[in-house]
């Protein structure tokens, strides 16, 4: 299922003295089965863009096509459910959305809203809790008795239980420790590979962009200022710096090495790529 933005603009509180611009003339396509990263500094319009992916916000002008549904300013708020089911959203600090007495009930909440029977929903809860790497015992526990990292996993399981085709992740690893972060990102990668989920990731971690994404959207002041593969985006470090964006660590290191006379083509994005390209330049493997 593709999601296509056609000249989408959005104004917050349009028609009031507090109006503010959220998106400016954004056109792009998030294609089926892609792993798209959205980057941009805080306040660049990333969150506004995200909320258009499942019609939590509707464009002030232009249109968003999600699968076979076209969303414009005139779209009625009714009948959006099928669409919300197809696009699962994991918000920042997703553990804040938990509310049920047990983990099982919380995970089943989404599917039941979309018409699943109690049995179906319970089966989904069981399946998803394993998928996110939690033991089945937690199903009967209160979500509020779990650790922060476990709560976040329950929240993600609750979104996965809706069986969406697109999974939208808004800084899913914020506040986790390094091990938690690694596990979480590996889990999304696995979902992308094995379940064929389209993934949209909003992140500040350029290493995650380099490691996982195949397409990158760069936002600034509500506008989409660049898009392309990670390699294309990170090929121009000066441009990124001018827009207050970072580089993957390997790319930054490569830049420092280039100042000392090393050459890289293309610019490496990961430590393995960097090591591979360094090898012939430092005399190969058997240097004494």
């Amino acid at each position: 299922m593709d999601i296509t933005f056609d000249h989408v603009s959005f104004t917050y509180q349009a028609g009031t003295p507090f109006a503010g611009e959220g998106l400016r003339d954004v056109s792009t396509t998030i294609s089926d089965h892609s792993y798209t990263a959205i980057i941009g500094h805080t306040g660049s319009g990333k969150s506004t863009l995200l909320q258009h992916l499942n019609a939590l916000l509707k464009p002030t002008s232009g249109s968003v096509t999600i699968g076979d549904r076209v969303i414009t300013a005139e779209t009625n708020n009714k009948n959006l459910k099928p669409l919300r089911q197809k696009v699962g959203m994991v918000f920042q600090f997703a553990e804040n959305q938990l509310f049920e007495q047990t983990v099982a009930k919380d995970i089943a909440f989404g599917p039941k809203n979309f018409g699943a029977s109690d049995d179906e929903a319970a089966a989904l809860a069981k399946q998803m809790v394993t998928l996110v790497g939690l033991p089945e015992e937690v199903l009967t526990q209160s979500p509020f008795d779990l650790s922060g990292g476990q709560m976040r996993r329950v929240a993600i399981a609750g979104v996965l239980a809706m069986q969406p085709q697109v999974l939208v992740l808004d800084e899913p690893t914020a506040g986790l420790d390094p091990a938690g972060r690694r596990d979480m990102m590996t889990m999304f990668e696995r979902l992308h590979e094995t379940q064929g989920l389209t993934i949209v990731l909003v992140t500040h971690q350029m290493d995650d962009v380099a490691d996982f994404a195949d397409h990158v959207l760069v936002m600034d002041q509500g506008a989409l200022i660049k898009e392309g593969s990670p390699r294309e985006i990170f090929a121009d470090p000066d441009w990124l710096r001018a827009h207050q964006l970072g580089l993957p660590k390997a790319t930054a290191m490569a830049e420092q090495l280039m100042a000392k006379g090393f050459r890289f083509d293309p610019l490496p994005l990961t430590s393995d790529e960097l090591a591979d390209q360094l090898l012939p330049q430092i005399g190969g493997a058997h240097h004494e």
Binding site: H41, T42, S147, G148, G149, A174, G175, L176, D177, P178, A179, G180, H204, Q244, G246, K249, A250, M253, Q256, L257, K260, G261, F262, S271, D272, L274, A275, D276, L278, L279, Q281, I282, G283, A285, H286, H287, E288
Partner: protein, 278 residues
């Protein structure tokens, strides 16, 4: 007095918990030292911070801060000497505006208003937030809020600042903002810093790094000594600096690399010597 903090066989068990959160931790931190404590979530890092200024009372063991043993009578004197910057920038912002928040700790100590105004202005100047003094917290970024929290602490002229995962909810820009501020403050005045963190760059700025694992001190050493352990850190659920990761990627490709830790600059220089002697 050269020790800012002395922790002597400290243990702490939360009420209702079966397992101690801290088990027999002993640690001395010298005046003016910057110590980073790393460890995965649940390793007891934050519990340690709360035991240092009496937000939690040790189950056993003794904590001494700036020569004062932590007791019921000393608790408020100690809190005046130790400032904590907490994780969530929003939930520690008490004042309705930036200046009000900085003044909060001073008001608590009943400081005369004239002196407060001088201290607040000075503290805001030091964290470079003077232009924001009448702003409301809702209109600040996360990094700015943490800078205000730091201003609120330095206004009290403390001996020790504890950063309790103070940068973990910030974006990279905010993180850098806070880290650079702490470095700048330490250049201007003698300040003992204890930072509890997951951020490897924050740990690398410290004089000494301590690994806490399951409530006990696992390792202690300079950042170079700790980071040289590379893969072992990952097993403990921690992060490794990029230079160290690259070093290991090269080692696995058969390149001879020095065993000791190289920071980015050191690694670049080392690779350059290899490159130029080719």
């Amino acid at each position: 007095m050269t020790e800012a903090i002395q922790i002597d066989h400290l243990s702490y068990t939360y009420p209702d918990a079966t397992h101690p959160a801290l088990a027999d931790v002993s640690l001395d931190i010298a005046q003016g030292e910057w110590v980073a404590i790393i460890g995965h979530n649940g390793s007891g890092k934050s519990t340690l911070a709360k035991n240092i200024n009496g937000l939690l009372a040790p189950t056993s063991g003794q904590v001494t801060v700036a020569g004062l043993p932590l007791t019921e009578e000393n608790i408020w004197d100690i809190r005046a000497k130790v400032g904590i910057v907490f994780q969530n920038p929003d939930n520690q912002f008490v004042g309705a505006t930036v200046a009000d928040d900085v003044a909060f700790g001073l008001e608590n100590r009943g400081m005369p208003r004239d002196e407060m105004i001088v201290r607040v202005d000075d503290a805001l100047e030091q964290v470079n937030m003077s232009a924001f003094s009448s702003r409301e917290p809702a209109r600040l970024s996360g990094g700015q809020k943490q800078r205000v929290a730091i201003a609120g602490i330095i206004a009290q002229r403390p001996d020790i600042i504890i950063l309790d995962e103070a940068t973990s909810m910030l974006d990279p820009a905010g993180r850098l903002e806070v880290l650079q501020l702490i470095q700048a403050l330490r250049e201007r005045q003698s300040l003992t810093v204890l930072s509890i963190t997951h951020d490897i760059d924050e740990a690398a700025s410290a004089d000494r790094v301590i690994i806490l694992n399951d409530g006990a001190i696992k390792e202690s050493g300079t950042p170079a000594e700790i980071f040289a352990r590379g893969p072992e850190l990952i097993e403990l659920g921690l992060d490794v600096p990029f230079a160290e990761r690259l070093k290991h990627a090269l080692i696995s490709r058969g390149v001879n690399m020095p065993a000791h830790y190289l920071d980015e600059e050191g690694l670049v220089n080392y690779l350059w010597t290899l490159h130029s002697t080719m």
